[in-house]
Symmetry: C3
């Protein structure tokens, strides 16, 4: 196993690495880290940094995960199996995430948040503290989930994003907003308050546009584009595609 740890990597003897874990060149693993079997850690990663809020709790990364290079994770967060990240992601303490999470390149998870299963963050998303994210959620590049209704203040009111919702690129979700189940937030929008399940919201400030099932695929098939689970299955495990996704 030792040959899976690059000789230039710095791995604490207190860290717990499962079978088949590989660690790339110049990476650093601190004390309070537990990594599941067959996980791959790229180069220049720093796992298990501590700060004043991490309470010396462990960073736990589930098995079969893939952390790409230049990523930084604090201690005190927990991820289920098959976490996949892009490059240079930053994840702070008290991020509690389910399985099969994807975190795109440059994304910044501020910690103190809850994330369900099969969630996908594309590149460069910013997840503010106190965010609550369901299952099968998609968040696209340069989206910010905020939390402070009158910045700066100590009054943090997190955003809630429900199952199967999708938030398109460069949108801001304002403090306390609820993105309901299956909602699509259009690109470059600014969303406040509550939303209705399965509707499209767009604009700044965002308004209700239509039910998502009014949107047709642009692939010539004539199919309806939402719920997206009807046509998009890439990367989901077979049992999911035949199960939840097909429901």
């Amino acid at each position: 196993m030792a040959d899976l740890i690059h000789p230039s990597a710095i791995v604490s003897s207190k860290a717990k690495l499962g079978k088949g874990v590989s660690v790339g060149p110049f990476s650093i693993i601190y004390d309070n880290v537990e990594i599941g079997d067959d996980t791959c850690i790229g180069a220049y990663c720093e796992l298990g940094l501590s700060n004043a809020f991490s309470d010396s709790k462990h960073l736990v990364i589930g098995k079969d995960s893939n952390i790409r290079s230049h990523s930084v994770f604090y201690e005190g967060s927990v991820f289920g199996e098959r976490l996949v990240t892009g490059h240079r992601v930053t994840v702070r303490e008290k991020t509690m995430a389910g399985k099969n999470l994807q975190i795109g390149t440059l994304s910044d998870i501020q910690g103190h948040c809850t994330i369900g299963d099969y969630v996908r963050f594309h590149s460069n998303v910013h997840i503010g503290q106190k965010s609550t994210i369901g299952n099968f959620v998609w968040i696209f590049p340069y989206v910010v989930l905020t939390n402070d209704p009158h910045p700066p203040s100590e009054t943090l009111i997190g955003v809630t994003v429900c199952d199967y919702a999708a938030i398109a690129t460069m949108s801001v979700i304002l403090p306390g907003a609820v993105v309901a189940k299956g909602v699509l937030v259009g690109a470059h929008s600014s969303l406040k308050g509550d939303t209705q399940e399965g509707w499209v919201y767009a604009g700044s400030p965002a308004k209700a546009i239509c039910p998502t099932n009014k949107i047709k695929m642009q692939d010539g098939s004539g199919r309806v584009a939402y719920p997206w689970t009807e046509h998009f299955h890439r990367g989901y495990p077979e049992e999911q595609v035949n199960g939840w996704l097909k429901k």
Copy 2:
């Protein structure tokens, strides 16, 4: 002291490091660097890079600072004491900053700019060249301070942000705009021209909305949210909280 420099770090013998300065693994400190006492430099940092505009001037970082991992600073910039950065910040030459500056993760300071005391940049802000920023300013994620009125050109007209102003997430401040004292720019706005002290501006293009003291706290206290100095003191030194902030 030498044991505070990680053996894998590369530190020029010409660099001047104060007492108690620590340098993390795989970091590089070039020649023209002066670091104040008790400053902590994280891993994978590169301090004192030169370019065609840095004129071989020193990078000066004040005492009691904390530069987090993966950060890049060019030579030719000066920071007062207690600079704190997030991860992977980039700071170019001729950035002249006061004390107690905070620069959030992924922020990109383009140099040739002036920054006062007690300023806080949250994650991923972009400070264009020729920006002038006062004291106690807050700039939130994905805000861009621009400078070119008809890009691309050589006509750079910087932005001015006055004391106690706050610019909320994903806003663009257009070239030559002046964010007056105590102004709040709402999220996802695009601001041009002059503004009136202590007012809220929001929208794209941003319009004057109301005086900031019309905004109530959402913490149930019934208090007014602005000036924010009345209720928000986290991280400011005691003497400030009892002094300027209370004025």
Copy 3:
């Protein structure tokens, strides 16, 4: 030549490095990489990563290039001579680019795209897959070129940006949009569909505003600001300034 490779760098014996190529500390060059003469690779760079889509094809970087620190390039992309990058750029497979490309700090090129000659991406741009970018194009900070008309889906419809176009900061170009020759997209815009050559588009959704030659320089000269090639030549080779740019 060997003394141009820092001893801490990890360079595959299968990589092909031209004469005068330098590689900074802690950088990694994988097998399928060809780097042209006199190119400079900064610290902490990772060149030639493979993935499921890179088909083991070579990463080719032309001569006289400058890759700044913390950058990540996948194999399977080709760049002409004089590529210049900022820090921490990420470039995925099947990016086919001409000569004299500049890629700003934090930019994220998603691959599977085509880029002409003398193109400049400022900091933190996001180039979606299937983008087609002409020559002498300028893209400013926090611009996103999208591709998915109903996210998430497998229906990717790329953006086209024609010669001499400029897209100002924090704009979203929607799937299938065509930014015509010499068009200026204003800051904080959201552009859909087709555009007319040499016009200004701005707003969200963006509307046609006026021909670009109605915009005057703000340098007191009274000159017209567009086409920008009339007044902006910095960094372009002399033969270009006297040739294409003056046409």
